[in-house]
């Protein structure tokens, strides 16, 4: 039973049909993880009891498997009356899981900003919020563009986890074809190539953005 190219090509439309689900899950998880991660880092930086709590939360998230989070959100929350769709749980799970990592990335990006920047902002009477928005965040983004991009690609590659919740993303769809036809090589290869293409495109996009961010300070 060799690799049948014609069969492989015949699976492409079905698998590509799931690309929308994969992309939506990726983009929303990226946004969710970034917003949550930045919020966590800001609260952790603020110190105090809440800061400490968030610090533990970040460590806790990073020390648990992403599958555990997905199962937990999908199967345990309903016991407490919280019923969410599979896609919602998937996006929520990936956002939470990666927020822990992104909080660490943002921390490094902020730590790398010279102290004098905050002092200059204070001396100019900028509020704490304005300092974050206009002084810290833009410089942080420049510092973290490369590692942030890596994590965004990671999130893309983590979307097949959602298959366990029967979210029809690309790898799940490929596996469905495989189970129906008992031919695994072709659909899985097609899904793999599509993921590769998406990942390369994302990396390329991230690199372009990174270059533009870096150029802004060095022109």
């Amino acid at each position: 039973m060799g690799f049948n190219l014609d069969f492989a090509l015949s699976t492409v439309p079905t698998i590509i049909g799931a690309i929308g689900t994969t992309l939506i899950a990726t983009v929303l998880s990226c946004v969710g993880a970034s917003v949550l991660g930045f919020t966590f880092e800001m609260i952790r930086r603020g110190g105090g009891a809440t800061g400490l709590a968030v610090r533990f939360l970040i460590d806790f998230i990073r020390s648990t498997p992403v599958l555990a989070w997905l199962y937990f959100l999908y199967f345990v929350l309903p016991f407490y009356g919280i019923r969410l769709g599979a896609m919602t749980v998937g996006i929520l799970g990936l956002s939470l899981y990666y927020s822990g990592y992104l909080a660490e990335v943002f921390k490094a990006g902020i730590d790398a900003i010279p102290r004098g920047q905050q002092e200059a902002a204070r001396a100019l009477s900028l509020t704490r919020r304005d300092t974050v928005v206009f002084v810290i965040a833009p410089q942080m983004l420049r510092n973290v563009a490369a590692p942030l991009g890596n994590y965004l690609v990671s999130i893309l590659k983590a979307t097949p986890y959602l298959a366990i919740l029967a979210v029809p993303e690309m790898l799940g769809r490929a596996f469905d074809i495989a189970s129906e036809t008992y031919r695994y090589a072709e659909p899985l290869t097609v899904a793999g190539i599509l993921f590769l293409a998406l990942a390369l495109l994302t990396s390329y996009g991230v690199k372009r953005i990174e270059q533009r961010l870096l150029a802004a300070g060095r022109r």
Binding site: L124, S125, F134, R218
Partner: protein, 258 residues
């Protein structure tokens, strides 16, 4: 006939812009500022000098609330700084600060560096903020770099932009923390020239510097610090001709012989 004994009236002695009383600061166990008393009159030009580690930078950073302190008060016309620092933002609004390392925002153009606080703190509309910023950039002779980024400028140019940025908020008192110490020698003059012009325009300034030529030319008062104390506070002329404290004499001899 003389009915009143003539008494010397210092050239500048109106209501003080800032009055520092009994200021004490510790870094942990280290007592870095010891009972500092200092009045900065309107239009005064005070140079603070002294050996490194004498507390001069810390003093100037206390004045705009960048450093908290444990004892004493710093009184502004409408705000008083003390150990609780409640009035910090009010006090800070009255001061402009120029740092040794410029601290321009690298991701913003020169113009945006200057307009940021105008827009966000003074809530000026964009047009007006830009006009004010351009006026100050022109005053420091660098209007043509308005659209440049800090990394494209020399150190001297960056420091002049930093001065313009601080002036934009129209502070009552300008604080300089060793503004030329991070500069190559050939750039020191362009920054000092701007500061001299600034002094000529009547801006109140307190300047920590080792530039004794500048001090002699511009300052009307010299404060000499050693080990956290003000050990000499005299008019510029008196300081250079007959500083009394041995530590100040030694400092002058070392600096002026170079």
């Amino acid at each position: 006939m003389l009915t009143q004994a003539p008494h010397p009236v210092p050239a500048v002695q109106s209501i003080p812009h800032v009055r520092i009383e009994g200021l004490n600061k510790w870094f942990g166990a280290l007592h870095v500022l010891k009972n500092i008393d200092l009045s900065v009159g309107a239009g005064a030009r005070i140079v603070v000098c002294g050996p490194s580690g004498s507390g001069k930078s810390t003093l100037i950073r206390c004045i705009n609330g960048l450093e908290p302190f444990q004892k004493g008060t710093i009184q502004f016309e409408a705000a008083t700084l003390d150990k609780d620092g409640r009035d910090t933002s009010k006090a800070r609004r009255q001061t402009g600060m120029v740092f040794q390392s410029f601290n321009l925002f690298p991701h913003l153009t020169v113009l945006a560096n200057c307009t940021l606080a105008l827009r966000r703190v003074l809530l000026k509309p964009a047009r007006e903020a830009e006009e004010i910023a351009m006026r100050h950039l022109t005053a420091v002779h660098i209007p043509e770099k308005a659209q440049a980024y800090p990394a494209q400028l020399s150190g001297g140019q960056q420091q002049r932009v930093a001065i313009a940025r601080a002036l934009c908020l129209n502070p009552r008192i300008m604080l300089f923390d060793e503004p030329t110490s991070a500069l190559d020698p050939e750039m020191i003059k362009e920054v000092l020239d701007v500061m001299i012009a600034l002094a000529g325009s009547g801006v109140t300034m307190v300047c920590v510097t080792h530039e004794m030529g500048f001090a002699r030319e511009v300052a009307d008062e010299i404060v000499f610090m050693d080990e956290g104390r003000i050990v000499e506070h005299a008019s510029s002329r008196d300081f250079f001709s007959r500083a009394a404290h041995p530590r100040a004499r030694l400092f002058l001899d070392t600096i002026l012989s170079n």
